[in-house]
Amino acid sequence: MLKYFFKRLLVMIPMMLAISLLVFGALELTPGDPLTAQFPPDQLVGMSQEDLDALREAVGLNDPMLVRYFRWLIAFFTGDMGYSIQTGTPISQVISYLLPQTVILAAAALLISTIFGLIFGIIAATKHNTIWDYLASVIGVIGISMPEFFIGIVAILIFAINLGWLPAQGRGSADATFIQNLRYLILPASSLGLSLAAALTRYTRNSMMDVMNQDYVKTARAKGLSESRVFFKHVFRNALMPISVLIFLRLPMLIGGSVVIEQVFGYAGIGNRLLTAINSSDYQLVLTIILMLSFVALLASLLIDLVTALLDPRVRL
């Protein structure tokens, strides 16, 4: 198992490098003076052109691209990510403050959608060919057909504005506890997770039906096991494997979707900051956030990958 973990980790490194290279390339192509991204603005104010040129030479901005790439990469991993041109704050500070909020949002959405997707999928599979099954699949298709921001808007209209149960905007107050601010998480996380929940319902149902027809389920019954034992030990466990693969595949969409959902709910996360940075052409910040988010996606997929391996002995070897 440990061996498998390290093997997966090793596979990830070239991917991370490839993504970082892409981002660095993009950074090279964007307009703007790289100096302004490397120093706080007040330090550069009042410097003469010669001073600036000297500084440029001193920090190696005239070095070959590959050298600059590795220097940039090392700086990135040591937390020296440069400065936002727009506000002058260190980017590492922006990220460490806002990234956790987005991760919490995505994780909450993942949790909600997995729980509901599994429950509805199991109901549809066990009651298969009944009205419940039919209903679950129709609602499932409807769920994946709605844009998530539209769901978010409707949710705000119903649950926040008309019913007044939950807050429509924001992330709660900074001095309240996490539990107190949980109210602010419910609507955005549910809207973000709805399409995944719908996809999971369909997928769980089909996966369960598939497994139920397998010979080894018949073997389990032939052993004299009770239906519930057959179901949980033999059917559900095996049905989970393809489901975890689906989650793995949908995870990047969840992280991308969080950017949109943050907009709808005015949720102070990294996605929101990303959009303001794009609109103000703060490219250093934009690309650093993008790099960071893709690393998060990669790490999350590694995690799901490990779960899959835990579930399936054939993958482990």
Binding site: D215, A222, L225, P313
Partner: protein
Amino acid sequence: MATEYILEINNLKTQFVVRRRRVVRAVDGVTFKVRRGKILGLVGESGCGKSVTAHSIMRLLPKTAVIPEGSILFHPEGGESVDMAKLNPTGRKIRSIRGNEISMIFQDPMASLNPVYNIGDQIIEVLREHSKITKKEALERAVRMLELLSIPKASERIKDYPHQFSGGMKQRVMIAMGLICRPQLLIADEPTTALDVTIQAQIIELIKEMQSEFGFSTIIITHNMGIVADMADDVAVMYMGKIVEFGTKEDVFLNPLHPYTQALLKSVPILGNAGEDKLIPIRGVTPDPSEMPPGCAFEPRCDFATEACKTCVPGRVGVTDSHIVRCVHCIGEKLDD
């Protein structure tokens, strides 16, 4: 009450309700008996209902299946007789029989083992379901059973997963799983069909060995006449949901009376039996179950068919005490269905 028979099936009917309330009569009045400690071979072409018969005994049928008629009387040694056809297919009673008193092994060992559990887990699962036994003891018994079935290095391999075994080895594991609770009846549903020819012989030998070691009764389901000739004591020949000929091995092989049995024997080579004769395939195809001929189901393919065959379904005729045939041309005592 220990009778001579361990299992008596009387006029068993198993039907599947398919789309639009159409009914497929997969098993349509099957009657046969399994002698205690003996091997019964149930033969027939694919689709004749032999597998459904076996699944009916275990009540492992899909939800669309019903048993509207007939009885399956199981007479366990030192226990009360039960009519398996009347039990609730998911109830406590049938579960205490499955895997414990009657075991079943299936056609495809590759698909019959759960890929995510190691084989030790899967074997002791049966044991622990039916008896109070610690995990350690159960594992020890599982290892002994695997050794008995000549799986090399059984104590190490018990922690391996199904995908680490070859097909033949998997079938041995399935047999171990079936026999670990010392059942009184083993139902082997085409146990060698999915295996290589060389492995087939090994598995057949193994089942025979185990049978003489433990003395359980066996129903072996196959389309291979050679296997029946090799191991069975009694033979039931099935065609389109009915047993067309039943008797001891000698009855059926040396004096086949039903034209279908005769044709079946002529169509396949059997080692040491009629070696020089030319093989003759059975003409025609099996009829569609939804468009069964009104008379004898074999009539359209039969060389001896007469007008009588076309109109009425032949009843069971006892030619001798042990030999029963469903053919209008056979003379003997008329039996009930």
